[in-house]
Subunit: 345 residues, 4 copies
């Protein structure tokens, strides 16, 4: 079977495993106080252009989202997010379990806009009963979004400015950030994120690590953030596991190098799909490809390829998703292309 279901189906990049092996029997202090964590933090500060950033390593995306969000909200506040956002739908109510409402907003292909946010905020503060409502307390974006789409630097800047006006922290979920950064046509860089957000995280799990997400507070973490990480159960005793992995990913530009490979693989597949007249569900330029397939073609392909069924499109078609990763083999892409019928329209 060919496997294009997700970007976390392999283990870790070989350089990471190599470092884990080399350092394995060193006796190191726990909970993120080891020298590999320190070195990884320093490299991330350098890569993001924030010499004073506070950097923390957590294990997975959901726990990172909820830890960051509940550390920054007051108990009367909620978090603004696209109604399709990962925290809105696919984290089993983790944010609500921490006591906060996800204030769901309409989106365009996964993206929030400054205009839509402004409209919400203006209406909220005009509403005479807003003291009986959940106060908007921060804005959550993901980049790439749930639909694999990207914000432009200008869009992020507009949202960032609006957040400053309303004194709302801006939090960017970068579970797949590497693949967004690796898209050539995107003008968003790590430096932009550090400049425009209050906090963001650099995903490791989907970027060649076994696990791990690096949370970056470009200015300063909330007080006792580490205790919040502990309280959420997100503090690894063997912090070295995330430290070594991020230290490796941010050595010699490995993080971007391996992401660009995934984008090249996806680009090759997109090109082949386009040549066959395929209808794309959204214009997603990173490592996820959402297309509309005839149900018969889909059924045929599933015999030899693993991919995700996203949603029914109409009675005869389905939206499906193909994903590439740092570990995708180009020969698998070519093999998949050979399996495609000449006409996909």
């Amino acid at each position: 079977m060919l496997y294009f279901e997700n970007d976390y189906c392999e283990g870790a990049h070989s350089a990471i495993l190599q470092r884990l092996l080399e350092t394995n029997m060193e006796k190191l202090p726990g909970y993120g106080t080891d020298p590999y964590c320190a070195s990884a933090r320093e490299k991330i500060r350098h890569a993001t252009g924030c010499p004073d950033a506070d950097v923390y390593f957590l294990v997975g995306g959901t726990q990172t989202n909820v830890t960051v969000i509940r550390s920054m909200l007051k108990p009367y506040e909620g978090v603004l997010a696209a109604s399709c956002g990962h925290i809105s739908v696919h984290e089993a109510g983790a944010v609500e379990a921490s006591g906060h409402k996800v204030l769901e907003l309409p989106h365009r292909e996964g993206r929030l806009s400054a205009g839509c946010l402004r409209e919400y905020l203006e209406a909220f503060y005009k509403d005479e009963s807003h003291e009986h409502m959940v106060f908007p307390g921060m804005v959550y974006l993901s980049h790439p979004t749930e639909y694999g789409t990207l914000y432009s630097r200008k869009e992020l800047a507009e949202i960032s400015e609006l957040c400053k006006t309303y004194r709302l922290p801006l939090f960017l979920d970068g579970a797949r950030l590497c693949y967004g950064l690796a898209v050539e046509s995107s003008d968003v860089t790590l430096n932009d994120l550090a400049r425009l957000t209050t906090v963001f995280y650099i995903g490791g799990t989907k970027a060649g690590a076994l696990c791990g997400e690096a949370v970056v507070f470009p200015e300063r973490a909330p007080a006792h953030f580490m205790t919040m990480v502990k309280q959420q159960g997100a503090l690894l005793a063997k912090g070295r596991l995330t430290g070594i992995q991020f230290d490796t990913l941010f050595t010699g530009g490995l993080y971007l190098k391996i992401s660009r490979h995934a984008i090249r693989a996806a680009d090759r597949l997109r090109e082949a799909l386009r040549e066959r007249g395929c209808r794309f569900y959204v214009d997603a330029p990173a490592n996820q490809i959402f297309i509309i397939l005839k149900n018969e073609i889909m059924a045929q392909l599933r015999k030899e390829v693993v991919f995700s069924i996203w949603a029914p499109y109409d009675s005869g078609h389905t939206i499906v998703r193909f994903v590439t990763s740092w570990g995708t083999r180009m020969e698998d892409i070519e093999q998949l292309i050979r399996l495609l019928p000449d006409q996909l329209a």
Copy 2:
């Protein structure tokens, strides 16, 4: 420096790293649905003598404790624990953050007793205002305890019976379980735990894994436990990471084999300490040794050895802790012994 501070200072047992390497590029489904998780579950069912047990892999101890506890308590219930229990003191209020009180009980060297529990429960239900109080909803033990002490099979059986009488689930935190099981003088086995508890977990982090705890429900997990794991942010995308590790630990008895090594190392150290007239703070037979040192001797030792300062004993003495692990080198033990003064009393 010699390092006896804790049992999570090394990476992973070499067999685990080897398996991670071998399986690294296999494309596997996520979230614990891969064949390595399945195999590890099967081996744990076998080792615990519970062919129908539900087994889940989480990442760390605090998150495991809180996920299990909040999955099993009603909102009006709290969890009974020793006042020194890990959940009572050292998990940053994770249980309370999930909405539940830790009902703290007196302990003997870290251990709860059936007698003390019975007294509490009888007094609670006799109290005319108990409907205004937090109902006891489960019992939490750890084995070994915070003081490194062990329960006997008889003590566990008494507590288990009491729990049945009061219909209280019994939860045993086994973060260091391997070291408890490896103590020769202990009569408690995995089979006993499966027979006597409602749920327990087998610690991996302190037993040669990079991370991971295996939760065992000998009869049946609470409904939708996996969703609770997800909600707590404890569900690894790359579930293979824990699956492969536990599969390795439970192949060929590795789990116990490496734990016995730690006990042998600790026994050797205990023997040397005893010969030098050392005062032991508690009689802890597993991989933790708590002793009372003169402050001058402590200061001297700290120049060459890393160990934990537990608490002040009196104005001239301090309680300190030495810990061995699966990765402790016997030559380090001998080296440490050579550094000890002839007289420790």
Copy 3:
């Protein structure tokens, strides 16, 4: 000024005050264990046709909603509600603060429908990733709804049946229930609610009491519901305050008698508005009237009448709300009608 802003602007019905006076110096036990509470419970059991119902008295609507909801949901569940529902918007995130998501559904003039619920539930259980999502754990309706509209008995029966199919408790918020019951064209009775819901409450605050809501579990309350009430801070020490009020309201049919008065007053106003060509925003038959007013007319009226501005309708019009109550004087209605311009269209 004339006052039509809401139905909680007066104190209490005079019969209630009279009973409070008469019983004032009786020495009674607290927390709802007094004979007036017992008598009120018995009368409510009779009025709802449920001799075995569990009945509890709480103080206000928000606390009643959250206490009921968190008593009946598992931690992985959320509550299905109209997106305009009181718990969705106007309770400051009380449900989320208790750890549960409000799963917001589209509505028709405030009403949910069995069809829409079924669609949601079918899609949920079909979704392959639903174990990563919040499970629907109960259905919340209000009757009258936020828009003053009413369910028919048939609509409630359909929803009730669907809930049974999916084993979802059905909870009906009756903060304004008295006014719904008093509408002649409505076929929904207290007996219907007792038959069709798992739990509902009979509002007192808006029905002539100083405060108080009577929660009715036609079959059986969840275990230790009183402790949940206490935990939420909703258990009055002087339980007599709610007991005496509900005992009075359910003596001699006072509850419905005073509600019918409010409906007559609203009917008279609706008639006058209709005669003047007024546009109604929704067809709300109970004690709330939502109409679309020209901004100039609205401004003029506001000089002599207090009413609620609901929402802008278009650049020249506004949706406003007039509310009658048990305490509305018919002469105030006539006075208001005299203030209306001849043409409201």
Copy 4:
């Protein structure tokens, strides 16, 4: 039967009922925005000597405690309280349900001391693992305490100073404050509380009101405290109910006047008990009397008197509590005294 079980067994002081009657049909805005609430706030500001105090009216004690506490704690913080404190034992885990640990401290007859607090705080910050523990985030006292004892002004001043040193808010639960203030030998005044605490509340429920507690922030309430009150379900729609009651209690010194009556009644009873050689369990000078009775005498008295059984003392004796209130009749006191045997020792 004579009734000395508690201080909330009667309805309301007659002046309060009178005011409720007089104002009953006035049409007033809701949620505490009416002129009676405004007037009551102003009188409380005057009585406490805090012209700028923020004053809020809530309904009952448990909800007041939890609303204040969760409004002022960060998510990694807990509240320090006596282990016998009302929030520690008798509020059904309300504080924990809001996500915060009650950090229980030893007490002397219900009282915390500055010395004991300092010891805890010093040990906490010295502990190397304190970042894995719940941070102390505020101090909770009650006055009178659970044992009916009182702090002296000097004791409160010492605790207050310590709290300032550690930047901990100091919260004083005044559910029975009126009775503490009315004790002649006590030197603590409302002005002292306003000067020495960050927030305190003036109990109404036990002081002649039907319900209601007045929360006083001498300097400033936390941001959006009203939304927190709403979220907790503690915001009365008919805010007039608490406004009118507190306005009456703080007119012409009624609050203290009726409390002094209760103290006189208790003093008379204490005198008679002392004459009969009664053993007092604690020296409680306000409206609660804790004594040690022979079980036979207790059984005899219970035939004609309602009082609380506090706890067993030894095999032959029981600790019982007698309580007076604003509504206690002196003739009932004399009647009770007549029922006492000549020798209670």
